[in-house]
C-alpha cells in the first residue's frame, strides 16, 4: 500500500464516519418526530387530540407529511435567482446539521480495544465553532428571502437577519460569563467540570436565562418567529418555496431546536452527566460501556425536556412586535448580560483573593 495511505488512521476515520452517520440520521429522525410532537403538544394545550389517524396514535404522521412534501409540485418563481433560490434551503439545512459536530453525546465507549469518543470533533474552540456555524444560519434565511424576488420574503428575511444578529450579541456575552468560570472553550471539558451535580445553571442562572431567550430568537421560534410571521407576512422568507425546499426550511428549524437544546443541556445542565449519580463510581461498578449508554440516554432526556419547553413556550406566548423585539434584545438583554459578566468577574476575582477585598 502507498505509504501516504498507511499514515492515515483508518480505524479513526471509520469510527468518525459511523458516528457522523448515526448523529445525522438521529437528528433527522428527531426533527421528524419533533413536528409530530409539536402538533401533539399544541393540540393538548388547546384541549384537542392532535394527529391520531396515521398509524397508532398518529405516529406515522411525519412520514405522511414528508411524503406529501415530496409529492408536491416544485415551483421556482420565474423572476427568482435560480442558483440562490436552491442554495438557500440547502444552506439552512447544512448549518443546522453542522453544529452537532462538537456536542459530546456521551463519554466514550471501549470497543475492539479502542476508546471511541462520542464526540465527532473535540476541538478546543468548540463554543466558537458553534457560534460561527449558527451565524452562518442567517445566510439561509437571507439568501432564501432575497432570491425569491418578493417584497414580503425580503422584508421577512431582513427582519430575521437583524433579529438573529442582534440576539447573537447578547448570547455571546452570556456565554462569556460562563467561559470565565470554565476557562475552556471545549465542550467536553465543560461537561467534565460539571460532574457530581455542579451544573453551571447553579452558577449562572441569569446567564442561562439570557442564553435561553437568545436561543429562542436564534431558532426563529415563537415568540421571536418574526421572520415567518404567518399573520402579517404570509409565510415570511419561505413564502415562495414549495415542495421539499420548503420542507428543508421547516426541517432545519426543528434540527436547530434539537441542537440548541443539546447545547443548552451541555453548557448549563451537565451534558451527558447522569443526575444524582456519581458517574465515575458507576463505571467501576457496571463498566464503561453501559455507563456510556446511560449517559447518552440522560443527555437525550435533558434534550427532550428542552424541546418540550420550546414547544410549551411556542403555544403560550404571542409573537413580539418588531420594535419590542429590538428593545428586548438591545436595551434589556445586552445590558443584563454585561451586568452578569461584570458580576461574575467580580466574584471570580474575590474568590481568587480568598474573599478579601
Amino acid at each position: 500500500m502507498h505509504p501516504m495511505l498507511l499514515a492515515i488512521e483508518w480505524a479513526l476515520l471509520i469510527e468518525k464516519a459511523v458516528l457522523i452517520l448515526i448523529i445525522i440520521s438521529l437528528s433527522l429522525l428527531i426533527a421528524m418526530y419533533e413536528t409530530y410532537a409539536e402538533r401533539k403538544v399544541a393540540a393538548f394545550m388547546q384541549d384537542r387530540r392532535g394527529p391520531s389517524r396515521a398509524g397508532p396514535f398518529g405516529l406515522l404522521q411525519p412520514l405522511a407529511d414528508g411524503l406529501k412534501l415530496f409529492m408536491k409540485e416544485e415551483i421556482i418563481p420565474a423572476s427568482s435567482n435560480r442558483l440562490l433560490f436552491v442554495l438557500g434551503p440547502g444552506l439552512a439545512m447544512l448549518t443546522a446539521m453542522m453544529t452537532s459536530a462538537v456536542v459530546p453525546w456521551s463519554s466514550h465507549f471501549e470497543l475492539f480495544g479502542r476508546t471511541i469518543s462520542m464526540q465527532i470533533a473535540d476541538i478546543n474552540i468548540g463554543i466558537l465553532y458553534i457560534f460561527g456555524v449558527v451565524s452562518m444560519g442567517v445566510y439561509g434565511v437571507m439568501i432564501g428571502g432575497w432570491a425569491s424576488n418578493n417584497k414580503f420574503s425580503l422584508l421577512a428575511a431582513i427582519r430575521g437577519a437583524s433579529q438573529i444578529i442582534s440576539y447573537e450579541l447578547a448570547m455571546g456575552l452570556a456565554i462569556i460569563a460562563l467561559l470565565m468560570i470554565t476557562g475552556s472553550l471545549s465542550l467536553k471539558t465543560i461537561v467534565a467540570q460539571q460532574q457530581l451535580g455542579h451544573y453551571y445553571i447553579l452558577y449562572q442562572p441569569l446567564g442561562f436565562l439570557i442564553f435561553l431567550v437568545c436561543a429562542f430568537a436564534e431558532c426563529n421560534r415563537t415568540p421571536f418567529d418574526l421572520s415567518e410571521a404567518d399573520s402579517e407576512l404570509n409565510m415570511g422568507f419561505h413564502l415562495e418555496y414549495s415542495s421539499m425546499k420548503l420542507g428543508f426550511y421547516l426541517f432545519s428549524e426543528y434540527i436547530n431546536v434539537f441542537i440548541s437544546s443539546a447545547v443548552m443541556a451541555t453548557l448549563y445542565f451537565g451534558g451527558f452527566d447522569i443526575p444524582f449519580v456519581n458517574d465515575a463510581e458507576l463505571v467501576h461498578r457496571i463498566g464503561q460501556n453501559p455507563v456510556a449508554i446511560l449517559q447518552a440516554v440522560s443527555l437525550f432526556l435533558k434534550v427532550v425536556c428542552f424541546i418540550f419547553f420550546f414547544m410549551w413556550v411556542r403555544w403560550t406566548i404571542p409573537r413580539f412586535r418588531y420594535d419590542q423585539l429590538m428593545d428586548l434584545g438591545w436595551k434589556v438583554l445586552i445590558p443584563l448580560s454585561l451586568l452578569n459578566m461584570l458580576a461574575t468577574g467580580f466574584i471570580i476575582l474575590l474568590r481568587q483573593n480568598h474573599w478579601h477585598f
Partner: protein, 180 residues
C-alpha cells in the same frame, strides 16, 4: 365628549409596574395555564367511529314508509309537494291495477317519487302535510356524492324495505335511520 351609552367606561392606562414590566412572571403564569390545559378533558368526538347523538327533533334524510303488511302508504296526493317551500319534491301518480293490492295500500300510488336533496331544506313540512303517514324524516344525513344527479333521490333510495318479504333489511334500515 358625551358618551353614547350609560355603560361606557374609560380605559385606565396606568404605566406598568416594575413587576409587570419584568414580563417573566406573566410568562410563567401563562405557561402554567397552558400546562394545566394538557390534563383537561378533551371534548373531541372521533367522528366516523363515534357519532354524537342527535337531538330528538332532528330532521334528516327522508323515508317513504310502508304499512305493517308491507304495502306502500303513499297515494301520490301531492300535498307534500305543495307544502314543500323549496319545491324539492316531484311525483307522478298511477292507478293500482288488479293483483297489485299487496304492493300498494290505496287505489292510487306514486309511480315516480323524487326528492332533490340539494334543494331540500329539511324543514319537515312534507312530514306534517302527509295525510297517510307515508313520509318521514329520519336521523341520517344525506351521504356525500360527486354528481348533482345522484342527489335526486328516487323511490329506490327513499322507500323502506318491505317488512314482510325482507325483514332483515327492514330491521337494518330502521336501525340505521333511527326513528321512523
Amino acid at each position: 365628549m358625551q358618551s353614547l351609552t350609560s355603560r361606557s367606561k374609560t380605559v385606565e392606562r396606568k404605566p406598568m409596574t416594575m413587576w409587570e414590566r419584568m414580563y417573566l412572571p406573566a410568562i410563567a403564569k401563562g405557561m402554567a395555564i397552558t400546562f394545566g390545559h394538557m390534563f383537561h378533558k378533551r371534548p373531541t368526538v372521533n367522528y366516523p367511529e363515534k357519532t354524537r347523538p342527535f337531538s330528538p327533533v332532528f330532521r334528516g334524510l327522508h323515508v317513504l314508509n310502508r304499512d305493517e303488511e308491507g304495502r306502500e302508504r303513499c297515494t301520490a296526493c301531492g300535498l307534500c309537494a305543495v307544502a314543500c317551500p323549496a319545491e324539492a319534491i316531484t311525483m307522478e301518480g298511477a292507478e293500482r291495477l288488479p293483483g297489485e293490492e299487496k304492493l300498494y295500500r290505496e287505489e292510487k300510488y306514486a309511480a315516480k317519487y323524487e326528492i332533490n336533496m340539494l334543494r331540500c331544506i329539511f324543514c319537515g313540512l312534507c312530514e306534517e302535510a302527509c295525510p297517510k303517514d307515508a313520509i318521514y324524516l329520519s336521523e341520517t344525513f344525506t351521504p356525500s356524492n360527486y354528481t348533482r344527479k345522484s342527489f335526486i333521490y328516487g323511490k329506490e333510495n327513499l322507500l323502506i324495505p318491505n317488512p314482510v318479504t325482507q325483514p332483515d333489511e327492514y330491521a337494518k334500515a330502521r336501525e340505521d335511520r333511527g326513528k321512523v
